[in-house]
Symmetry: C2
Subunit: 280 residues, 2 copies
């Protein structure tokens, strides 16, 4: 369909946002809008400038015959700070304290809007790593894993704690939960992960890191590599952390069960975020 510049800008923006981390050739857009490549180039310059000014992300231009343009979702430091501050305020509500000092996060993880924001934070901080797949463990980490994977344009694999007939044959391992020291099992469908994959592990909560450590052991069974670890909440004051490098959005410093007081600070996210030079 022939479109004028204004229409092209609207539709190209939509197309690029729906296809992050995907190389799109100029020819594709030229055919899509029945326009000259030179016009498409000018459109892309406008989009690139707006995306960078507004902190939407960047447009990488790959030159040459096999080239094109690639949208890399990003985030401005200020927006990241604001989102993490918002998450801290939400999580700190006293009514979240459950018996045993656990926190009720179901509503936060149930909000697609918040979940998308968290996914963008992870996608931005891991944008430059080689990632083939995002892995998480059922159930709470699933929405976060999908939100990050969508922006990184990679599939999701879900580790389970019970076997399901619809998964086909599985590989299972036993692991020791870091805090309760109990032996547990986790398993992954054999055909869900290719040998040698670079895997980003995403989860909602990390205490000692036993579950994440279990996922790392499971990856070894597939000769797969850990490309990164991202968690929404980590807890401070863990005696012996089982996981080395990880990125957390929020750090839980104290839960006072009696007073229903929850103390949180920013996680280590900003130690890893490459800060955009151009703060518009």
């Amino acid at each position: 369909m022939k479109l004028r510049r204004s229409g092209r800008l609207v539709d190209m923006t939509h197309y690029l946002l729906a296809h992050p981390h995907t190389l799109v050739s100029l020819t594709y857009f030229a055919d899509r809008y029945q326009s000259a490549k030179s016009s498409i180039s000018e459109d892309l310059t406008i989009i690139k400038q707006t995306f960078e000014e507004q902190g939407t992300g960047s447009l990488l231009t790959v030159p040459g015959a096999a080239g094109g343009v690639k949208y890399i979702p990003g985030i401005k430091e200020k927006e990241a700070k604001d989102t993490i501050k918002e998450l801290c305020a939400l999580i700190a509500k006293p009514e979240r304290v459950l018996p045993g000092g656990y926190l009720y996060l179901t509503d936060i993880l149930g909000s697609p809007h918040l979940v998308s924001k968290i996914g963008r934070l992870f996608a931005a901080v891991f944008a430059n790593r080689k990632i083939d797949v995002v892995m998480t463990v059922a159930t709470k980490g699933i929405p976060l894993a999908y939100a990050a994977a969508r922006e990184l344009n990679v599939p999701v694999v879900i580790v389970r704690k019970d076997s399901k007939v619809t998964e086909g044959s599985t590989v299972s391992i036993n692991y020791v939960s870091g805090s309760s020291k109990r032996i547990q099992t986790m398993l992954l469908a054999k055909r869900s992960l290719e040998v040698g994959s670079n895997v980003l592990i995403i989860d909602d909560f990390m205490k000692a890191g036993g579950t994440i450590n279990g996922m790392i052991s499971l990856l070894e069974e597939f000769d797969a590599k850990v490309a990164g670890i991202g968690v929404l909440v980590e807890t401070e004051g863990v005696e012996e952390r089982l996981v080395d490098e990880y990125i957390s959005l929020v750090k839980l410093t104290e839960v006072d069960i009696r007073e229903k007081q929850i103390d949180l600070t920013e996680g280590n996210y900003f130690d890893f975020l490459e800060i955009e030079k151009k703060e518009g």
Copy 2:
């Protein structure tokens, strides 16, 4: 930040796509871009026209002081047909047949790109119903539920088959699985669903409908109403369907375990989709 028309079109498109089913006032945009409301109005006319021509969806204009504009994700009949055809072709692959005649769908449900497309199909067909929340049951339906909920701008609640301490107190029911006739339990966190909510149920697979029927019983415990039911795959030839009205994308007509032959057709989706008159 002051932006010219071209930049405004790019950023407004991004903003509207990220905030579906949300009323945005013209004042918000006028302030965001330091532009006159009349210019914003003209921008919105261009975006509306492009969205409608390309089948992205529609922009509803709400007049008056409390008015504004609302982006309603939609889909063109042709795009919906193509997506469902693509799903049928993917699901029909012989290597999906598992022992017992089950189908391996984990890779399809693990693709954020496919899952987003499925979510858009559901969001388009349920766009005009009053929906407060999307409900699904762990684990496989979760990504589909989030993909639909994101486009409908409502939260997700997840029914579980086992109790978790991080859910707080729960309401549980027993139900009879339609095909295996076994009694099972499902439960939902008490504070995750408000009384009187209008609930869209989304799941990946429906045979006799026992699981979905269980969710309907659970809703009764919360005095909540079923606003709609959407499934990715339904199976044909079920003697006694436990669920009345539902929308399916794909219908499984036969699985020949020995020959590894899977037969599929379009589900009843197009009986429900309001077809856009303007096919660009």
